[in-house]
Symmetry: D2
Subunit: 266 residues, 4 copies
């Protein structure tokens, strides 16, 4: 690096710093989109090049040179958005809900002619929640006992939470795979509901409490010791590291990826 | 003690140290009695003067000059023991179970001719557990939400624990007294048992886990904050401070006292 | 409302429902004031009659018929506000900071000619935090060991928090009053700081963690058991129940009251 | 096994059940040895064939047909024990302390002529503790903040615990490997010790409390969420699953293995 043309001294190639990734945000004024915009703006290695809201032209995203699009829109428009991105060679990180097997298959098919392009669709971008599930699965076979306690604000309509049910199922599957017998429980005299909901043999308890946000504990026990994994989610900001991780990693994950677990390099 | 011979300068009255309390233990070789013997021996202000086991003469206790007796025996002998103590002007701290209203009334009647004598009968000598219940009651009216989670070893046959049910009832009563409406809960879609057992409007969850001993949490919530009271009981030693407190306080509490709450000076 | 037409039988005086309390808010557009306005509006028994911001006429409050004023303004104007309220026979609930002994004495003096009027000045309107301190004090003498762990967001500049230091001091005082010896601690080989800060003999540990808001635990231990009191504060809304309690209770607490402890009826 | 005498149809090879592993215990009357004896006796797939205490002949172990020996003895005799086992083709699971690099190298050298034989030497057989460390390492790079809180009985002489220091170091290494900056901390006004001990940039807090046994928490935080991993160890029994795992797995791990992490199949 002994010679340097005038004006080149700040360029990435000279400093060794990788070039920024150009990001477009669809649904930029929604609750999640607003957080994404803030997070991308705060990241040194990302450049926000387009914010698109319902009614805006999608072409803006392509014109602005977006390499990756983040989509937190609505189930009824997200497929069109993905189609557009694929047609325009833009990677796509999708947090919009409502995907079933058929829709996933359609996206995978669209991607076939573009072997370098990636679409990541995730029901939960919270890295902490994903890690909790992963660790609970790994630890499950070492503990005869396991129960799940989830705690949420009182406006939640479902009990247990979807995440708690999913966690219990993953843990139950790990126990079955390890050939564990049912967790010991001598209860013979119980008030209805005291021992929680039974999700494939794992007791799940749902606490609803004013003041709380979203919290989950997996308690595992063996003679003489317990291991407790707890995740506390306080606000939407907690999903942003997972979104940014997906934005940064998507070029290394061509094709369709469901969930961010595979991006964590665990 | 108006006159004092030479050499008496180490006596309690001279040094200002109070005289020791002479203590007899009934059921001294049982699981709880063994702990009581150890605890009395370890206390500077108490003197273990008699250990009585099934088959031993109760007179030993009187002959040894016991001022207070601690009884952890069996429901079928405890009434005789109490009668003997009252007849011999010995205060009585009772942890034996099986007292109903009729038995309590009988003890109270026996005590009537002896206005200076005390009998303390307590279902739970754990100071931490008693404090937890007390604080939960006091705090209850300030929080729209309250739930109880108790966690025990998997050999426990009842769910929820008796202490958790009693705690929930005390909290429910405090809420009623304060005119609180039911705790907010938007749950419309629930697996059976997920929301716990309903004890007078308070949700109680029972976790059973290998490795645990006996634990209880009261969770209270209001918009923006939660208050959690947790008691962990690891072994029988935890009951000893309550027993010793009763031994020390009983002379200031003549008559029949049920539970140690009143001794805590709260 | 000097005349009353037929059909007005739903009026408070007829149904036995107490009349609403007219409330004015000073500093109504500040962070805390905004919350107060929302909380008063949401309370059936309170009527928001005046919102005053810097630059507005204080007379509005009197003209609007406020019976109680809530002041979350600034140290440099709060004394004038209190003076005005007292002159106009308006009760005053003050959350503004910066009161020293001299200022408190001045307020007390102003109140002397008005034996029915109340001023409540509180450094912390969080009922949960106040209860935690109270319970820790009450429980302290029953446990040989006690430590405080406070956990906050990483932008906090002081460690430990003021509340944790105050809690530790109250607990230390309760221990001294009970004649407790220092907490047992066999540590001979320690890294600097491992055992926390020493606040009058009570170890206080300060955790700083991204994601957290404001949390405090008091851990108390005796052989075989521990009692843990934990307060989690998630947002400013948590102070509103304490503010509303003060608004409702102030007419029963004439004179100067410092802190809301005395209003809790514990 | 083409021929089979009458009456042999219950033999393991016929039923498909694997043969039991013959186990010898060295230091069988020590605190840990006693637990090992109980655990082996309780395991259907293990057969206790020899219990050796100081002063007994080691030959008993070989004569009894032990395939695996468990050694919880003393640093001054453990090397002789291992040498004896290797010479007699017996696998060796060692929980005795005091191994340095030189001793480990010696054991490895002894094993060279016996490629099928295994020796497992572990400082900690607690599976929960090992899992906690592993998960903390894996999760560390996803969270800007991490601190460790360990809580122990007050008779412990070192602070922080060795496990907490080891955990902090592993986490610090994972953070360095991921290129994480120091955890955010705006503290400018601190009491000495409030922010804990600094272990390679990770704050570690040591709580000492009567009633506690051995507990450890790793708290990790990112904007809007926290992940907490907690291990509670209540008694020596908690080490037995790790010991039994080593006994069962050692034949599949020839050579020298240090720590049980590698046996967990994570």
């Amino acid at each position: 690096m002994t010679t340097s043309a005038p004006g080149e001294q700040d360029s990435p190639s000279t400093t060794g710093e990788p070039p920024r990734i150009n990001v477009g945000v669809l649904g930029a004024r929604g609750r999640m989109g607003t957080e994404v915009v803030k997070a991308v703006n705060a990241a040194d290695d990302l450049e926000l090049v387009a914010m698109v809201e319902a009614g805006d032209w999608l072409f803006n995203v392509a014109d602005a040179g977006a390499e990756v699009v983040v989509d937190f829109t609505r189930p009824d428009v997200v497929m069109d958005n993905i189609r557009f991105c694929i047609d325009n060679d833009i990677h796509c990180v999708v947090g919009t809900t409502g995907f079933d097997e058929a829709k996933l298959a359609t996206v995978a098919e669209w991607l076939q002619p573009k072997p370098d392009l990636g679409v990541i669709i995730a029901p939960n971008f919270g890295i902490g929640a994903v890690l909790l599930m992963r660790f609970a699965q790994e630890a499950a076979r070492f503990f005869p006992s396991v129960e799940v306690v989830e705690l949420h604000h009182p406006n939640k309509v479902d009990a247990p939470s979807g995440t708690a049910v999913r966690t219990a199922r993953l843990v139950a599957a790990a126990r079955r795979a390890a050939g564990l017998p049912p967790a010991p429980d001598a209860t013979t005299d119980s008030l209805p509901g005291a021992r929680g909901a039974d999700v494939e043999g794992v007791a799940v308890h749902a606490v609803r409490l004013s003041g709380l946000v979203a919290h989950q504990e997996v308690l595992m026990g063996a003679p003489g010791e317990t291991l407790t994994l707890r995740h506390d989610s306080y606000d939407r900001a907690s999903f942003m590291p997972g979104v940014l991780l997906a934005v940064r990693e998507i070029r290394r994950h061509p094709g369709l990826t469901v969930g961010i677990e595979g991006l964590l390099g665990l």
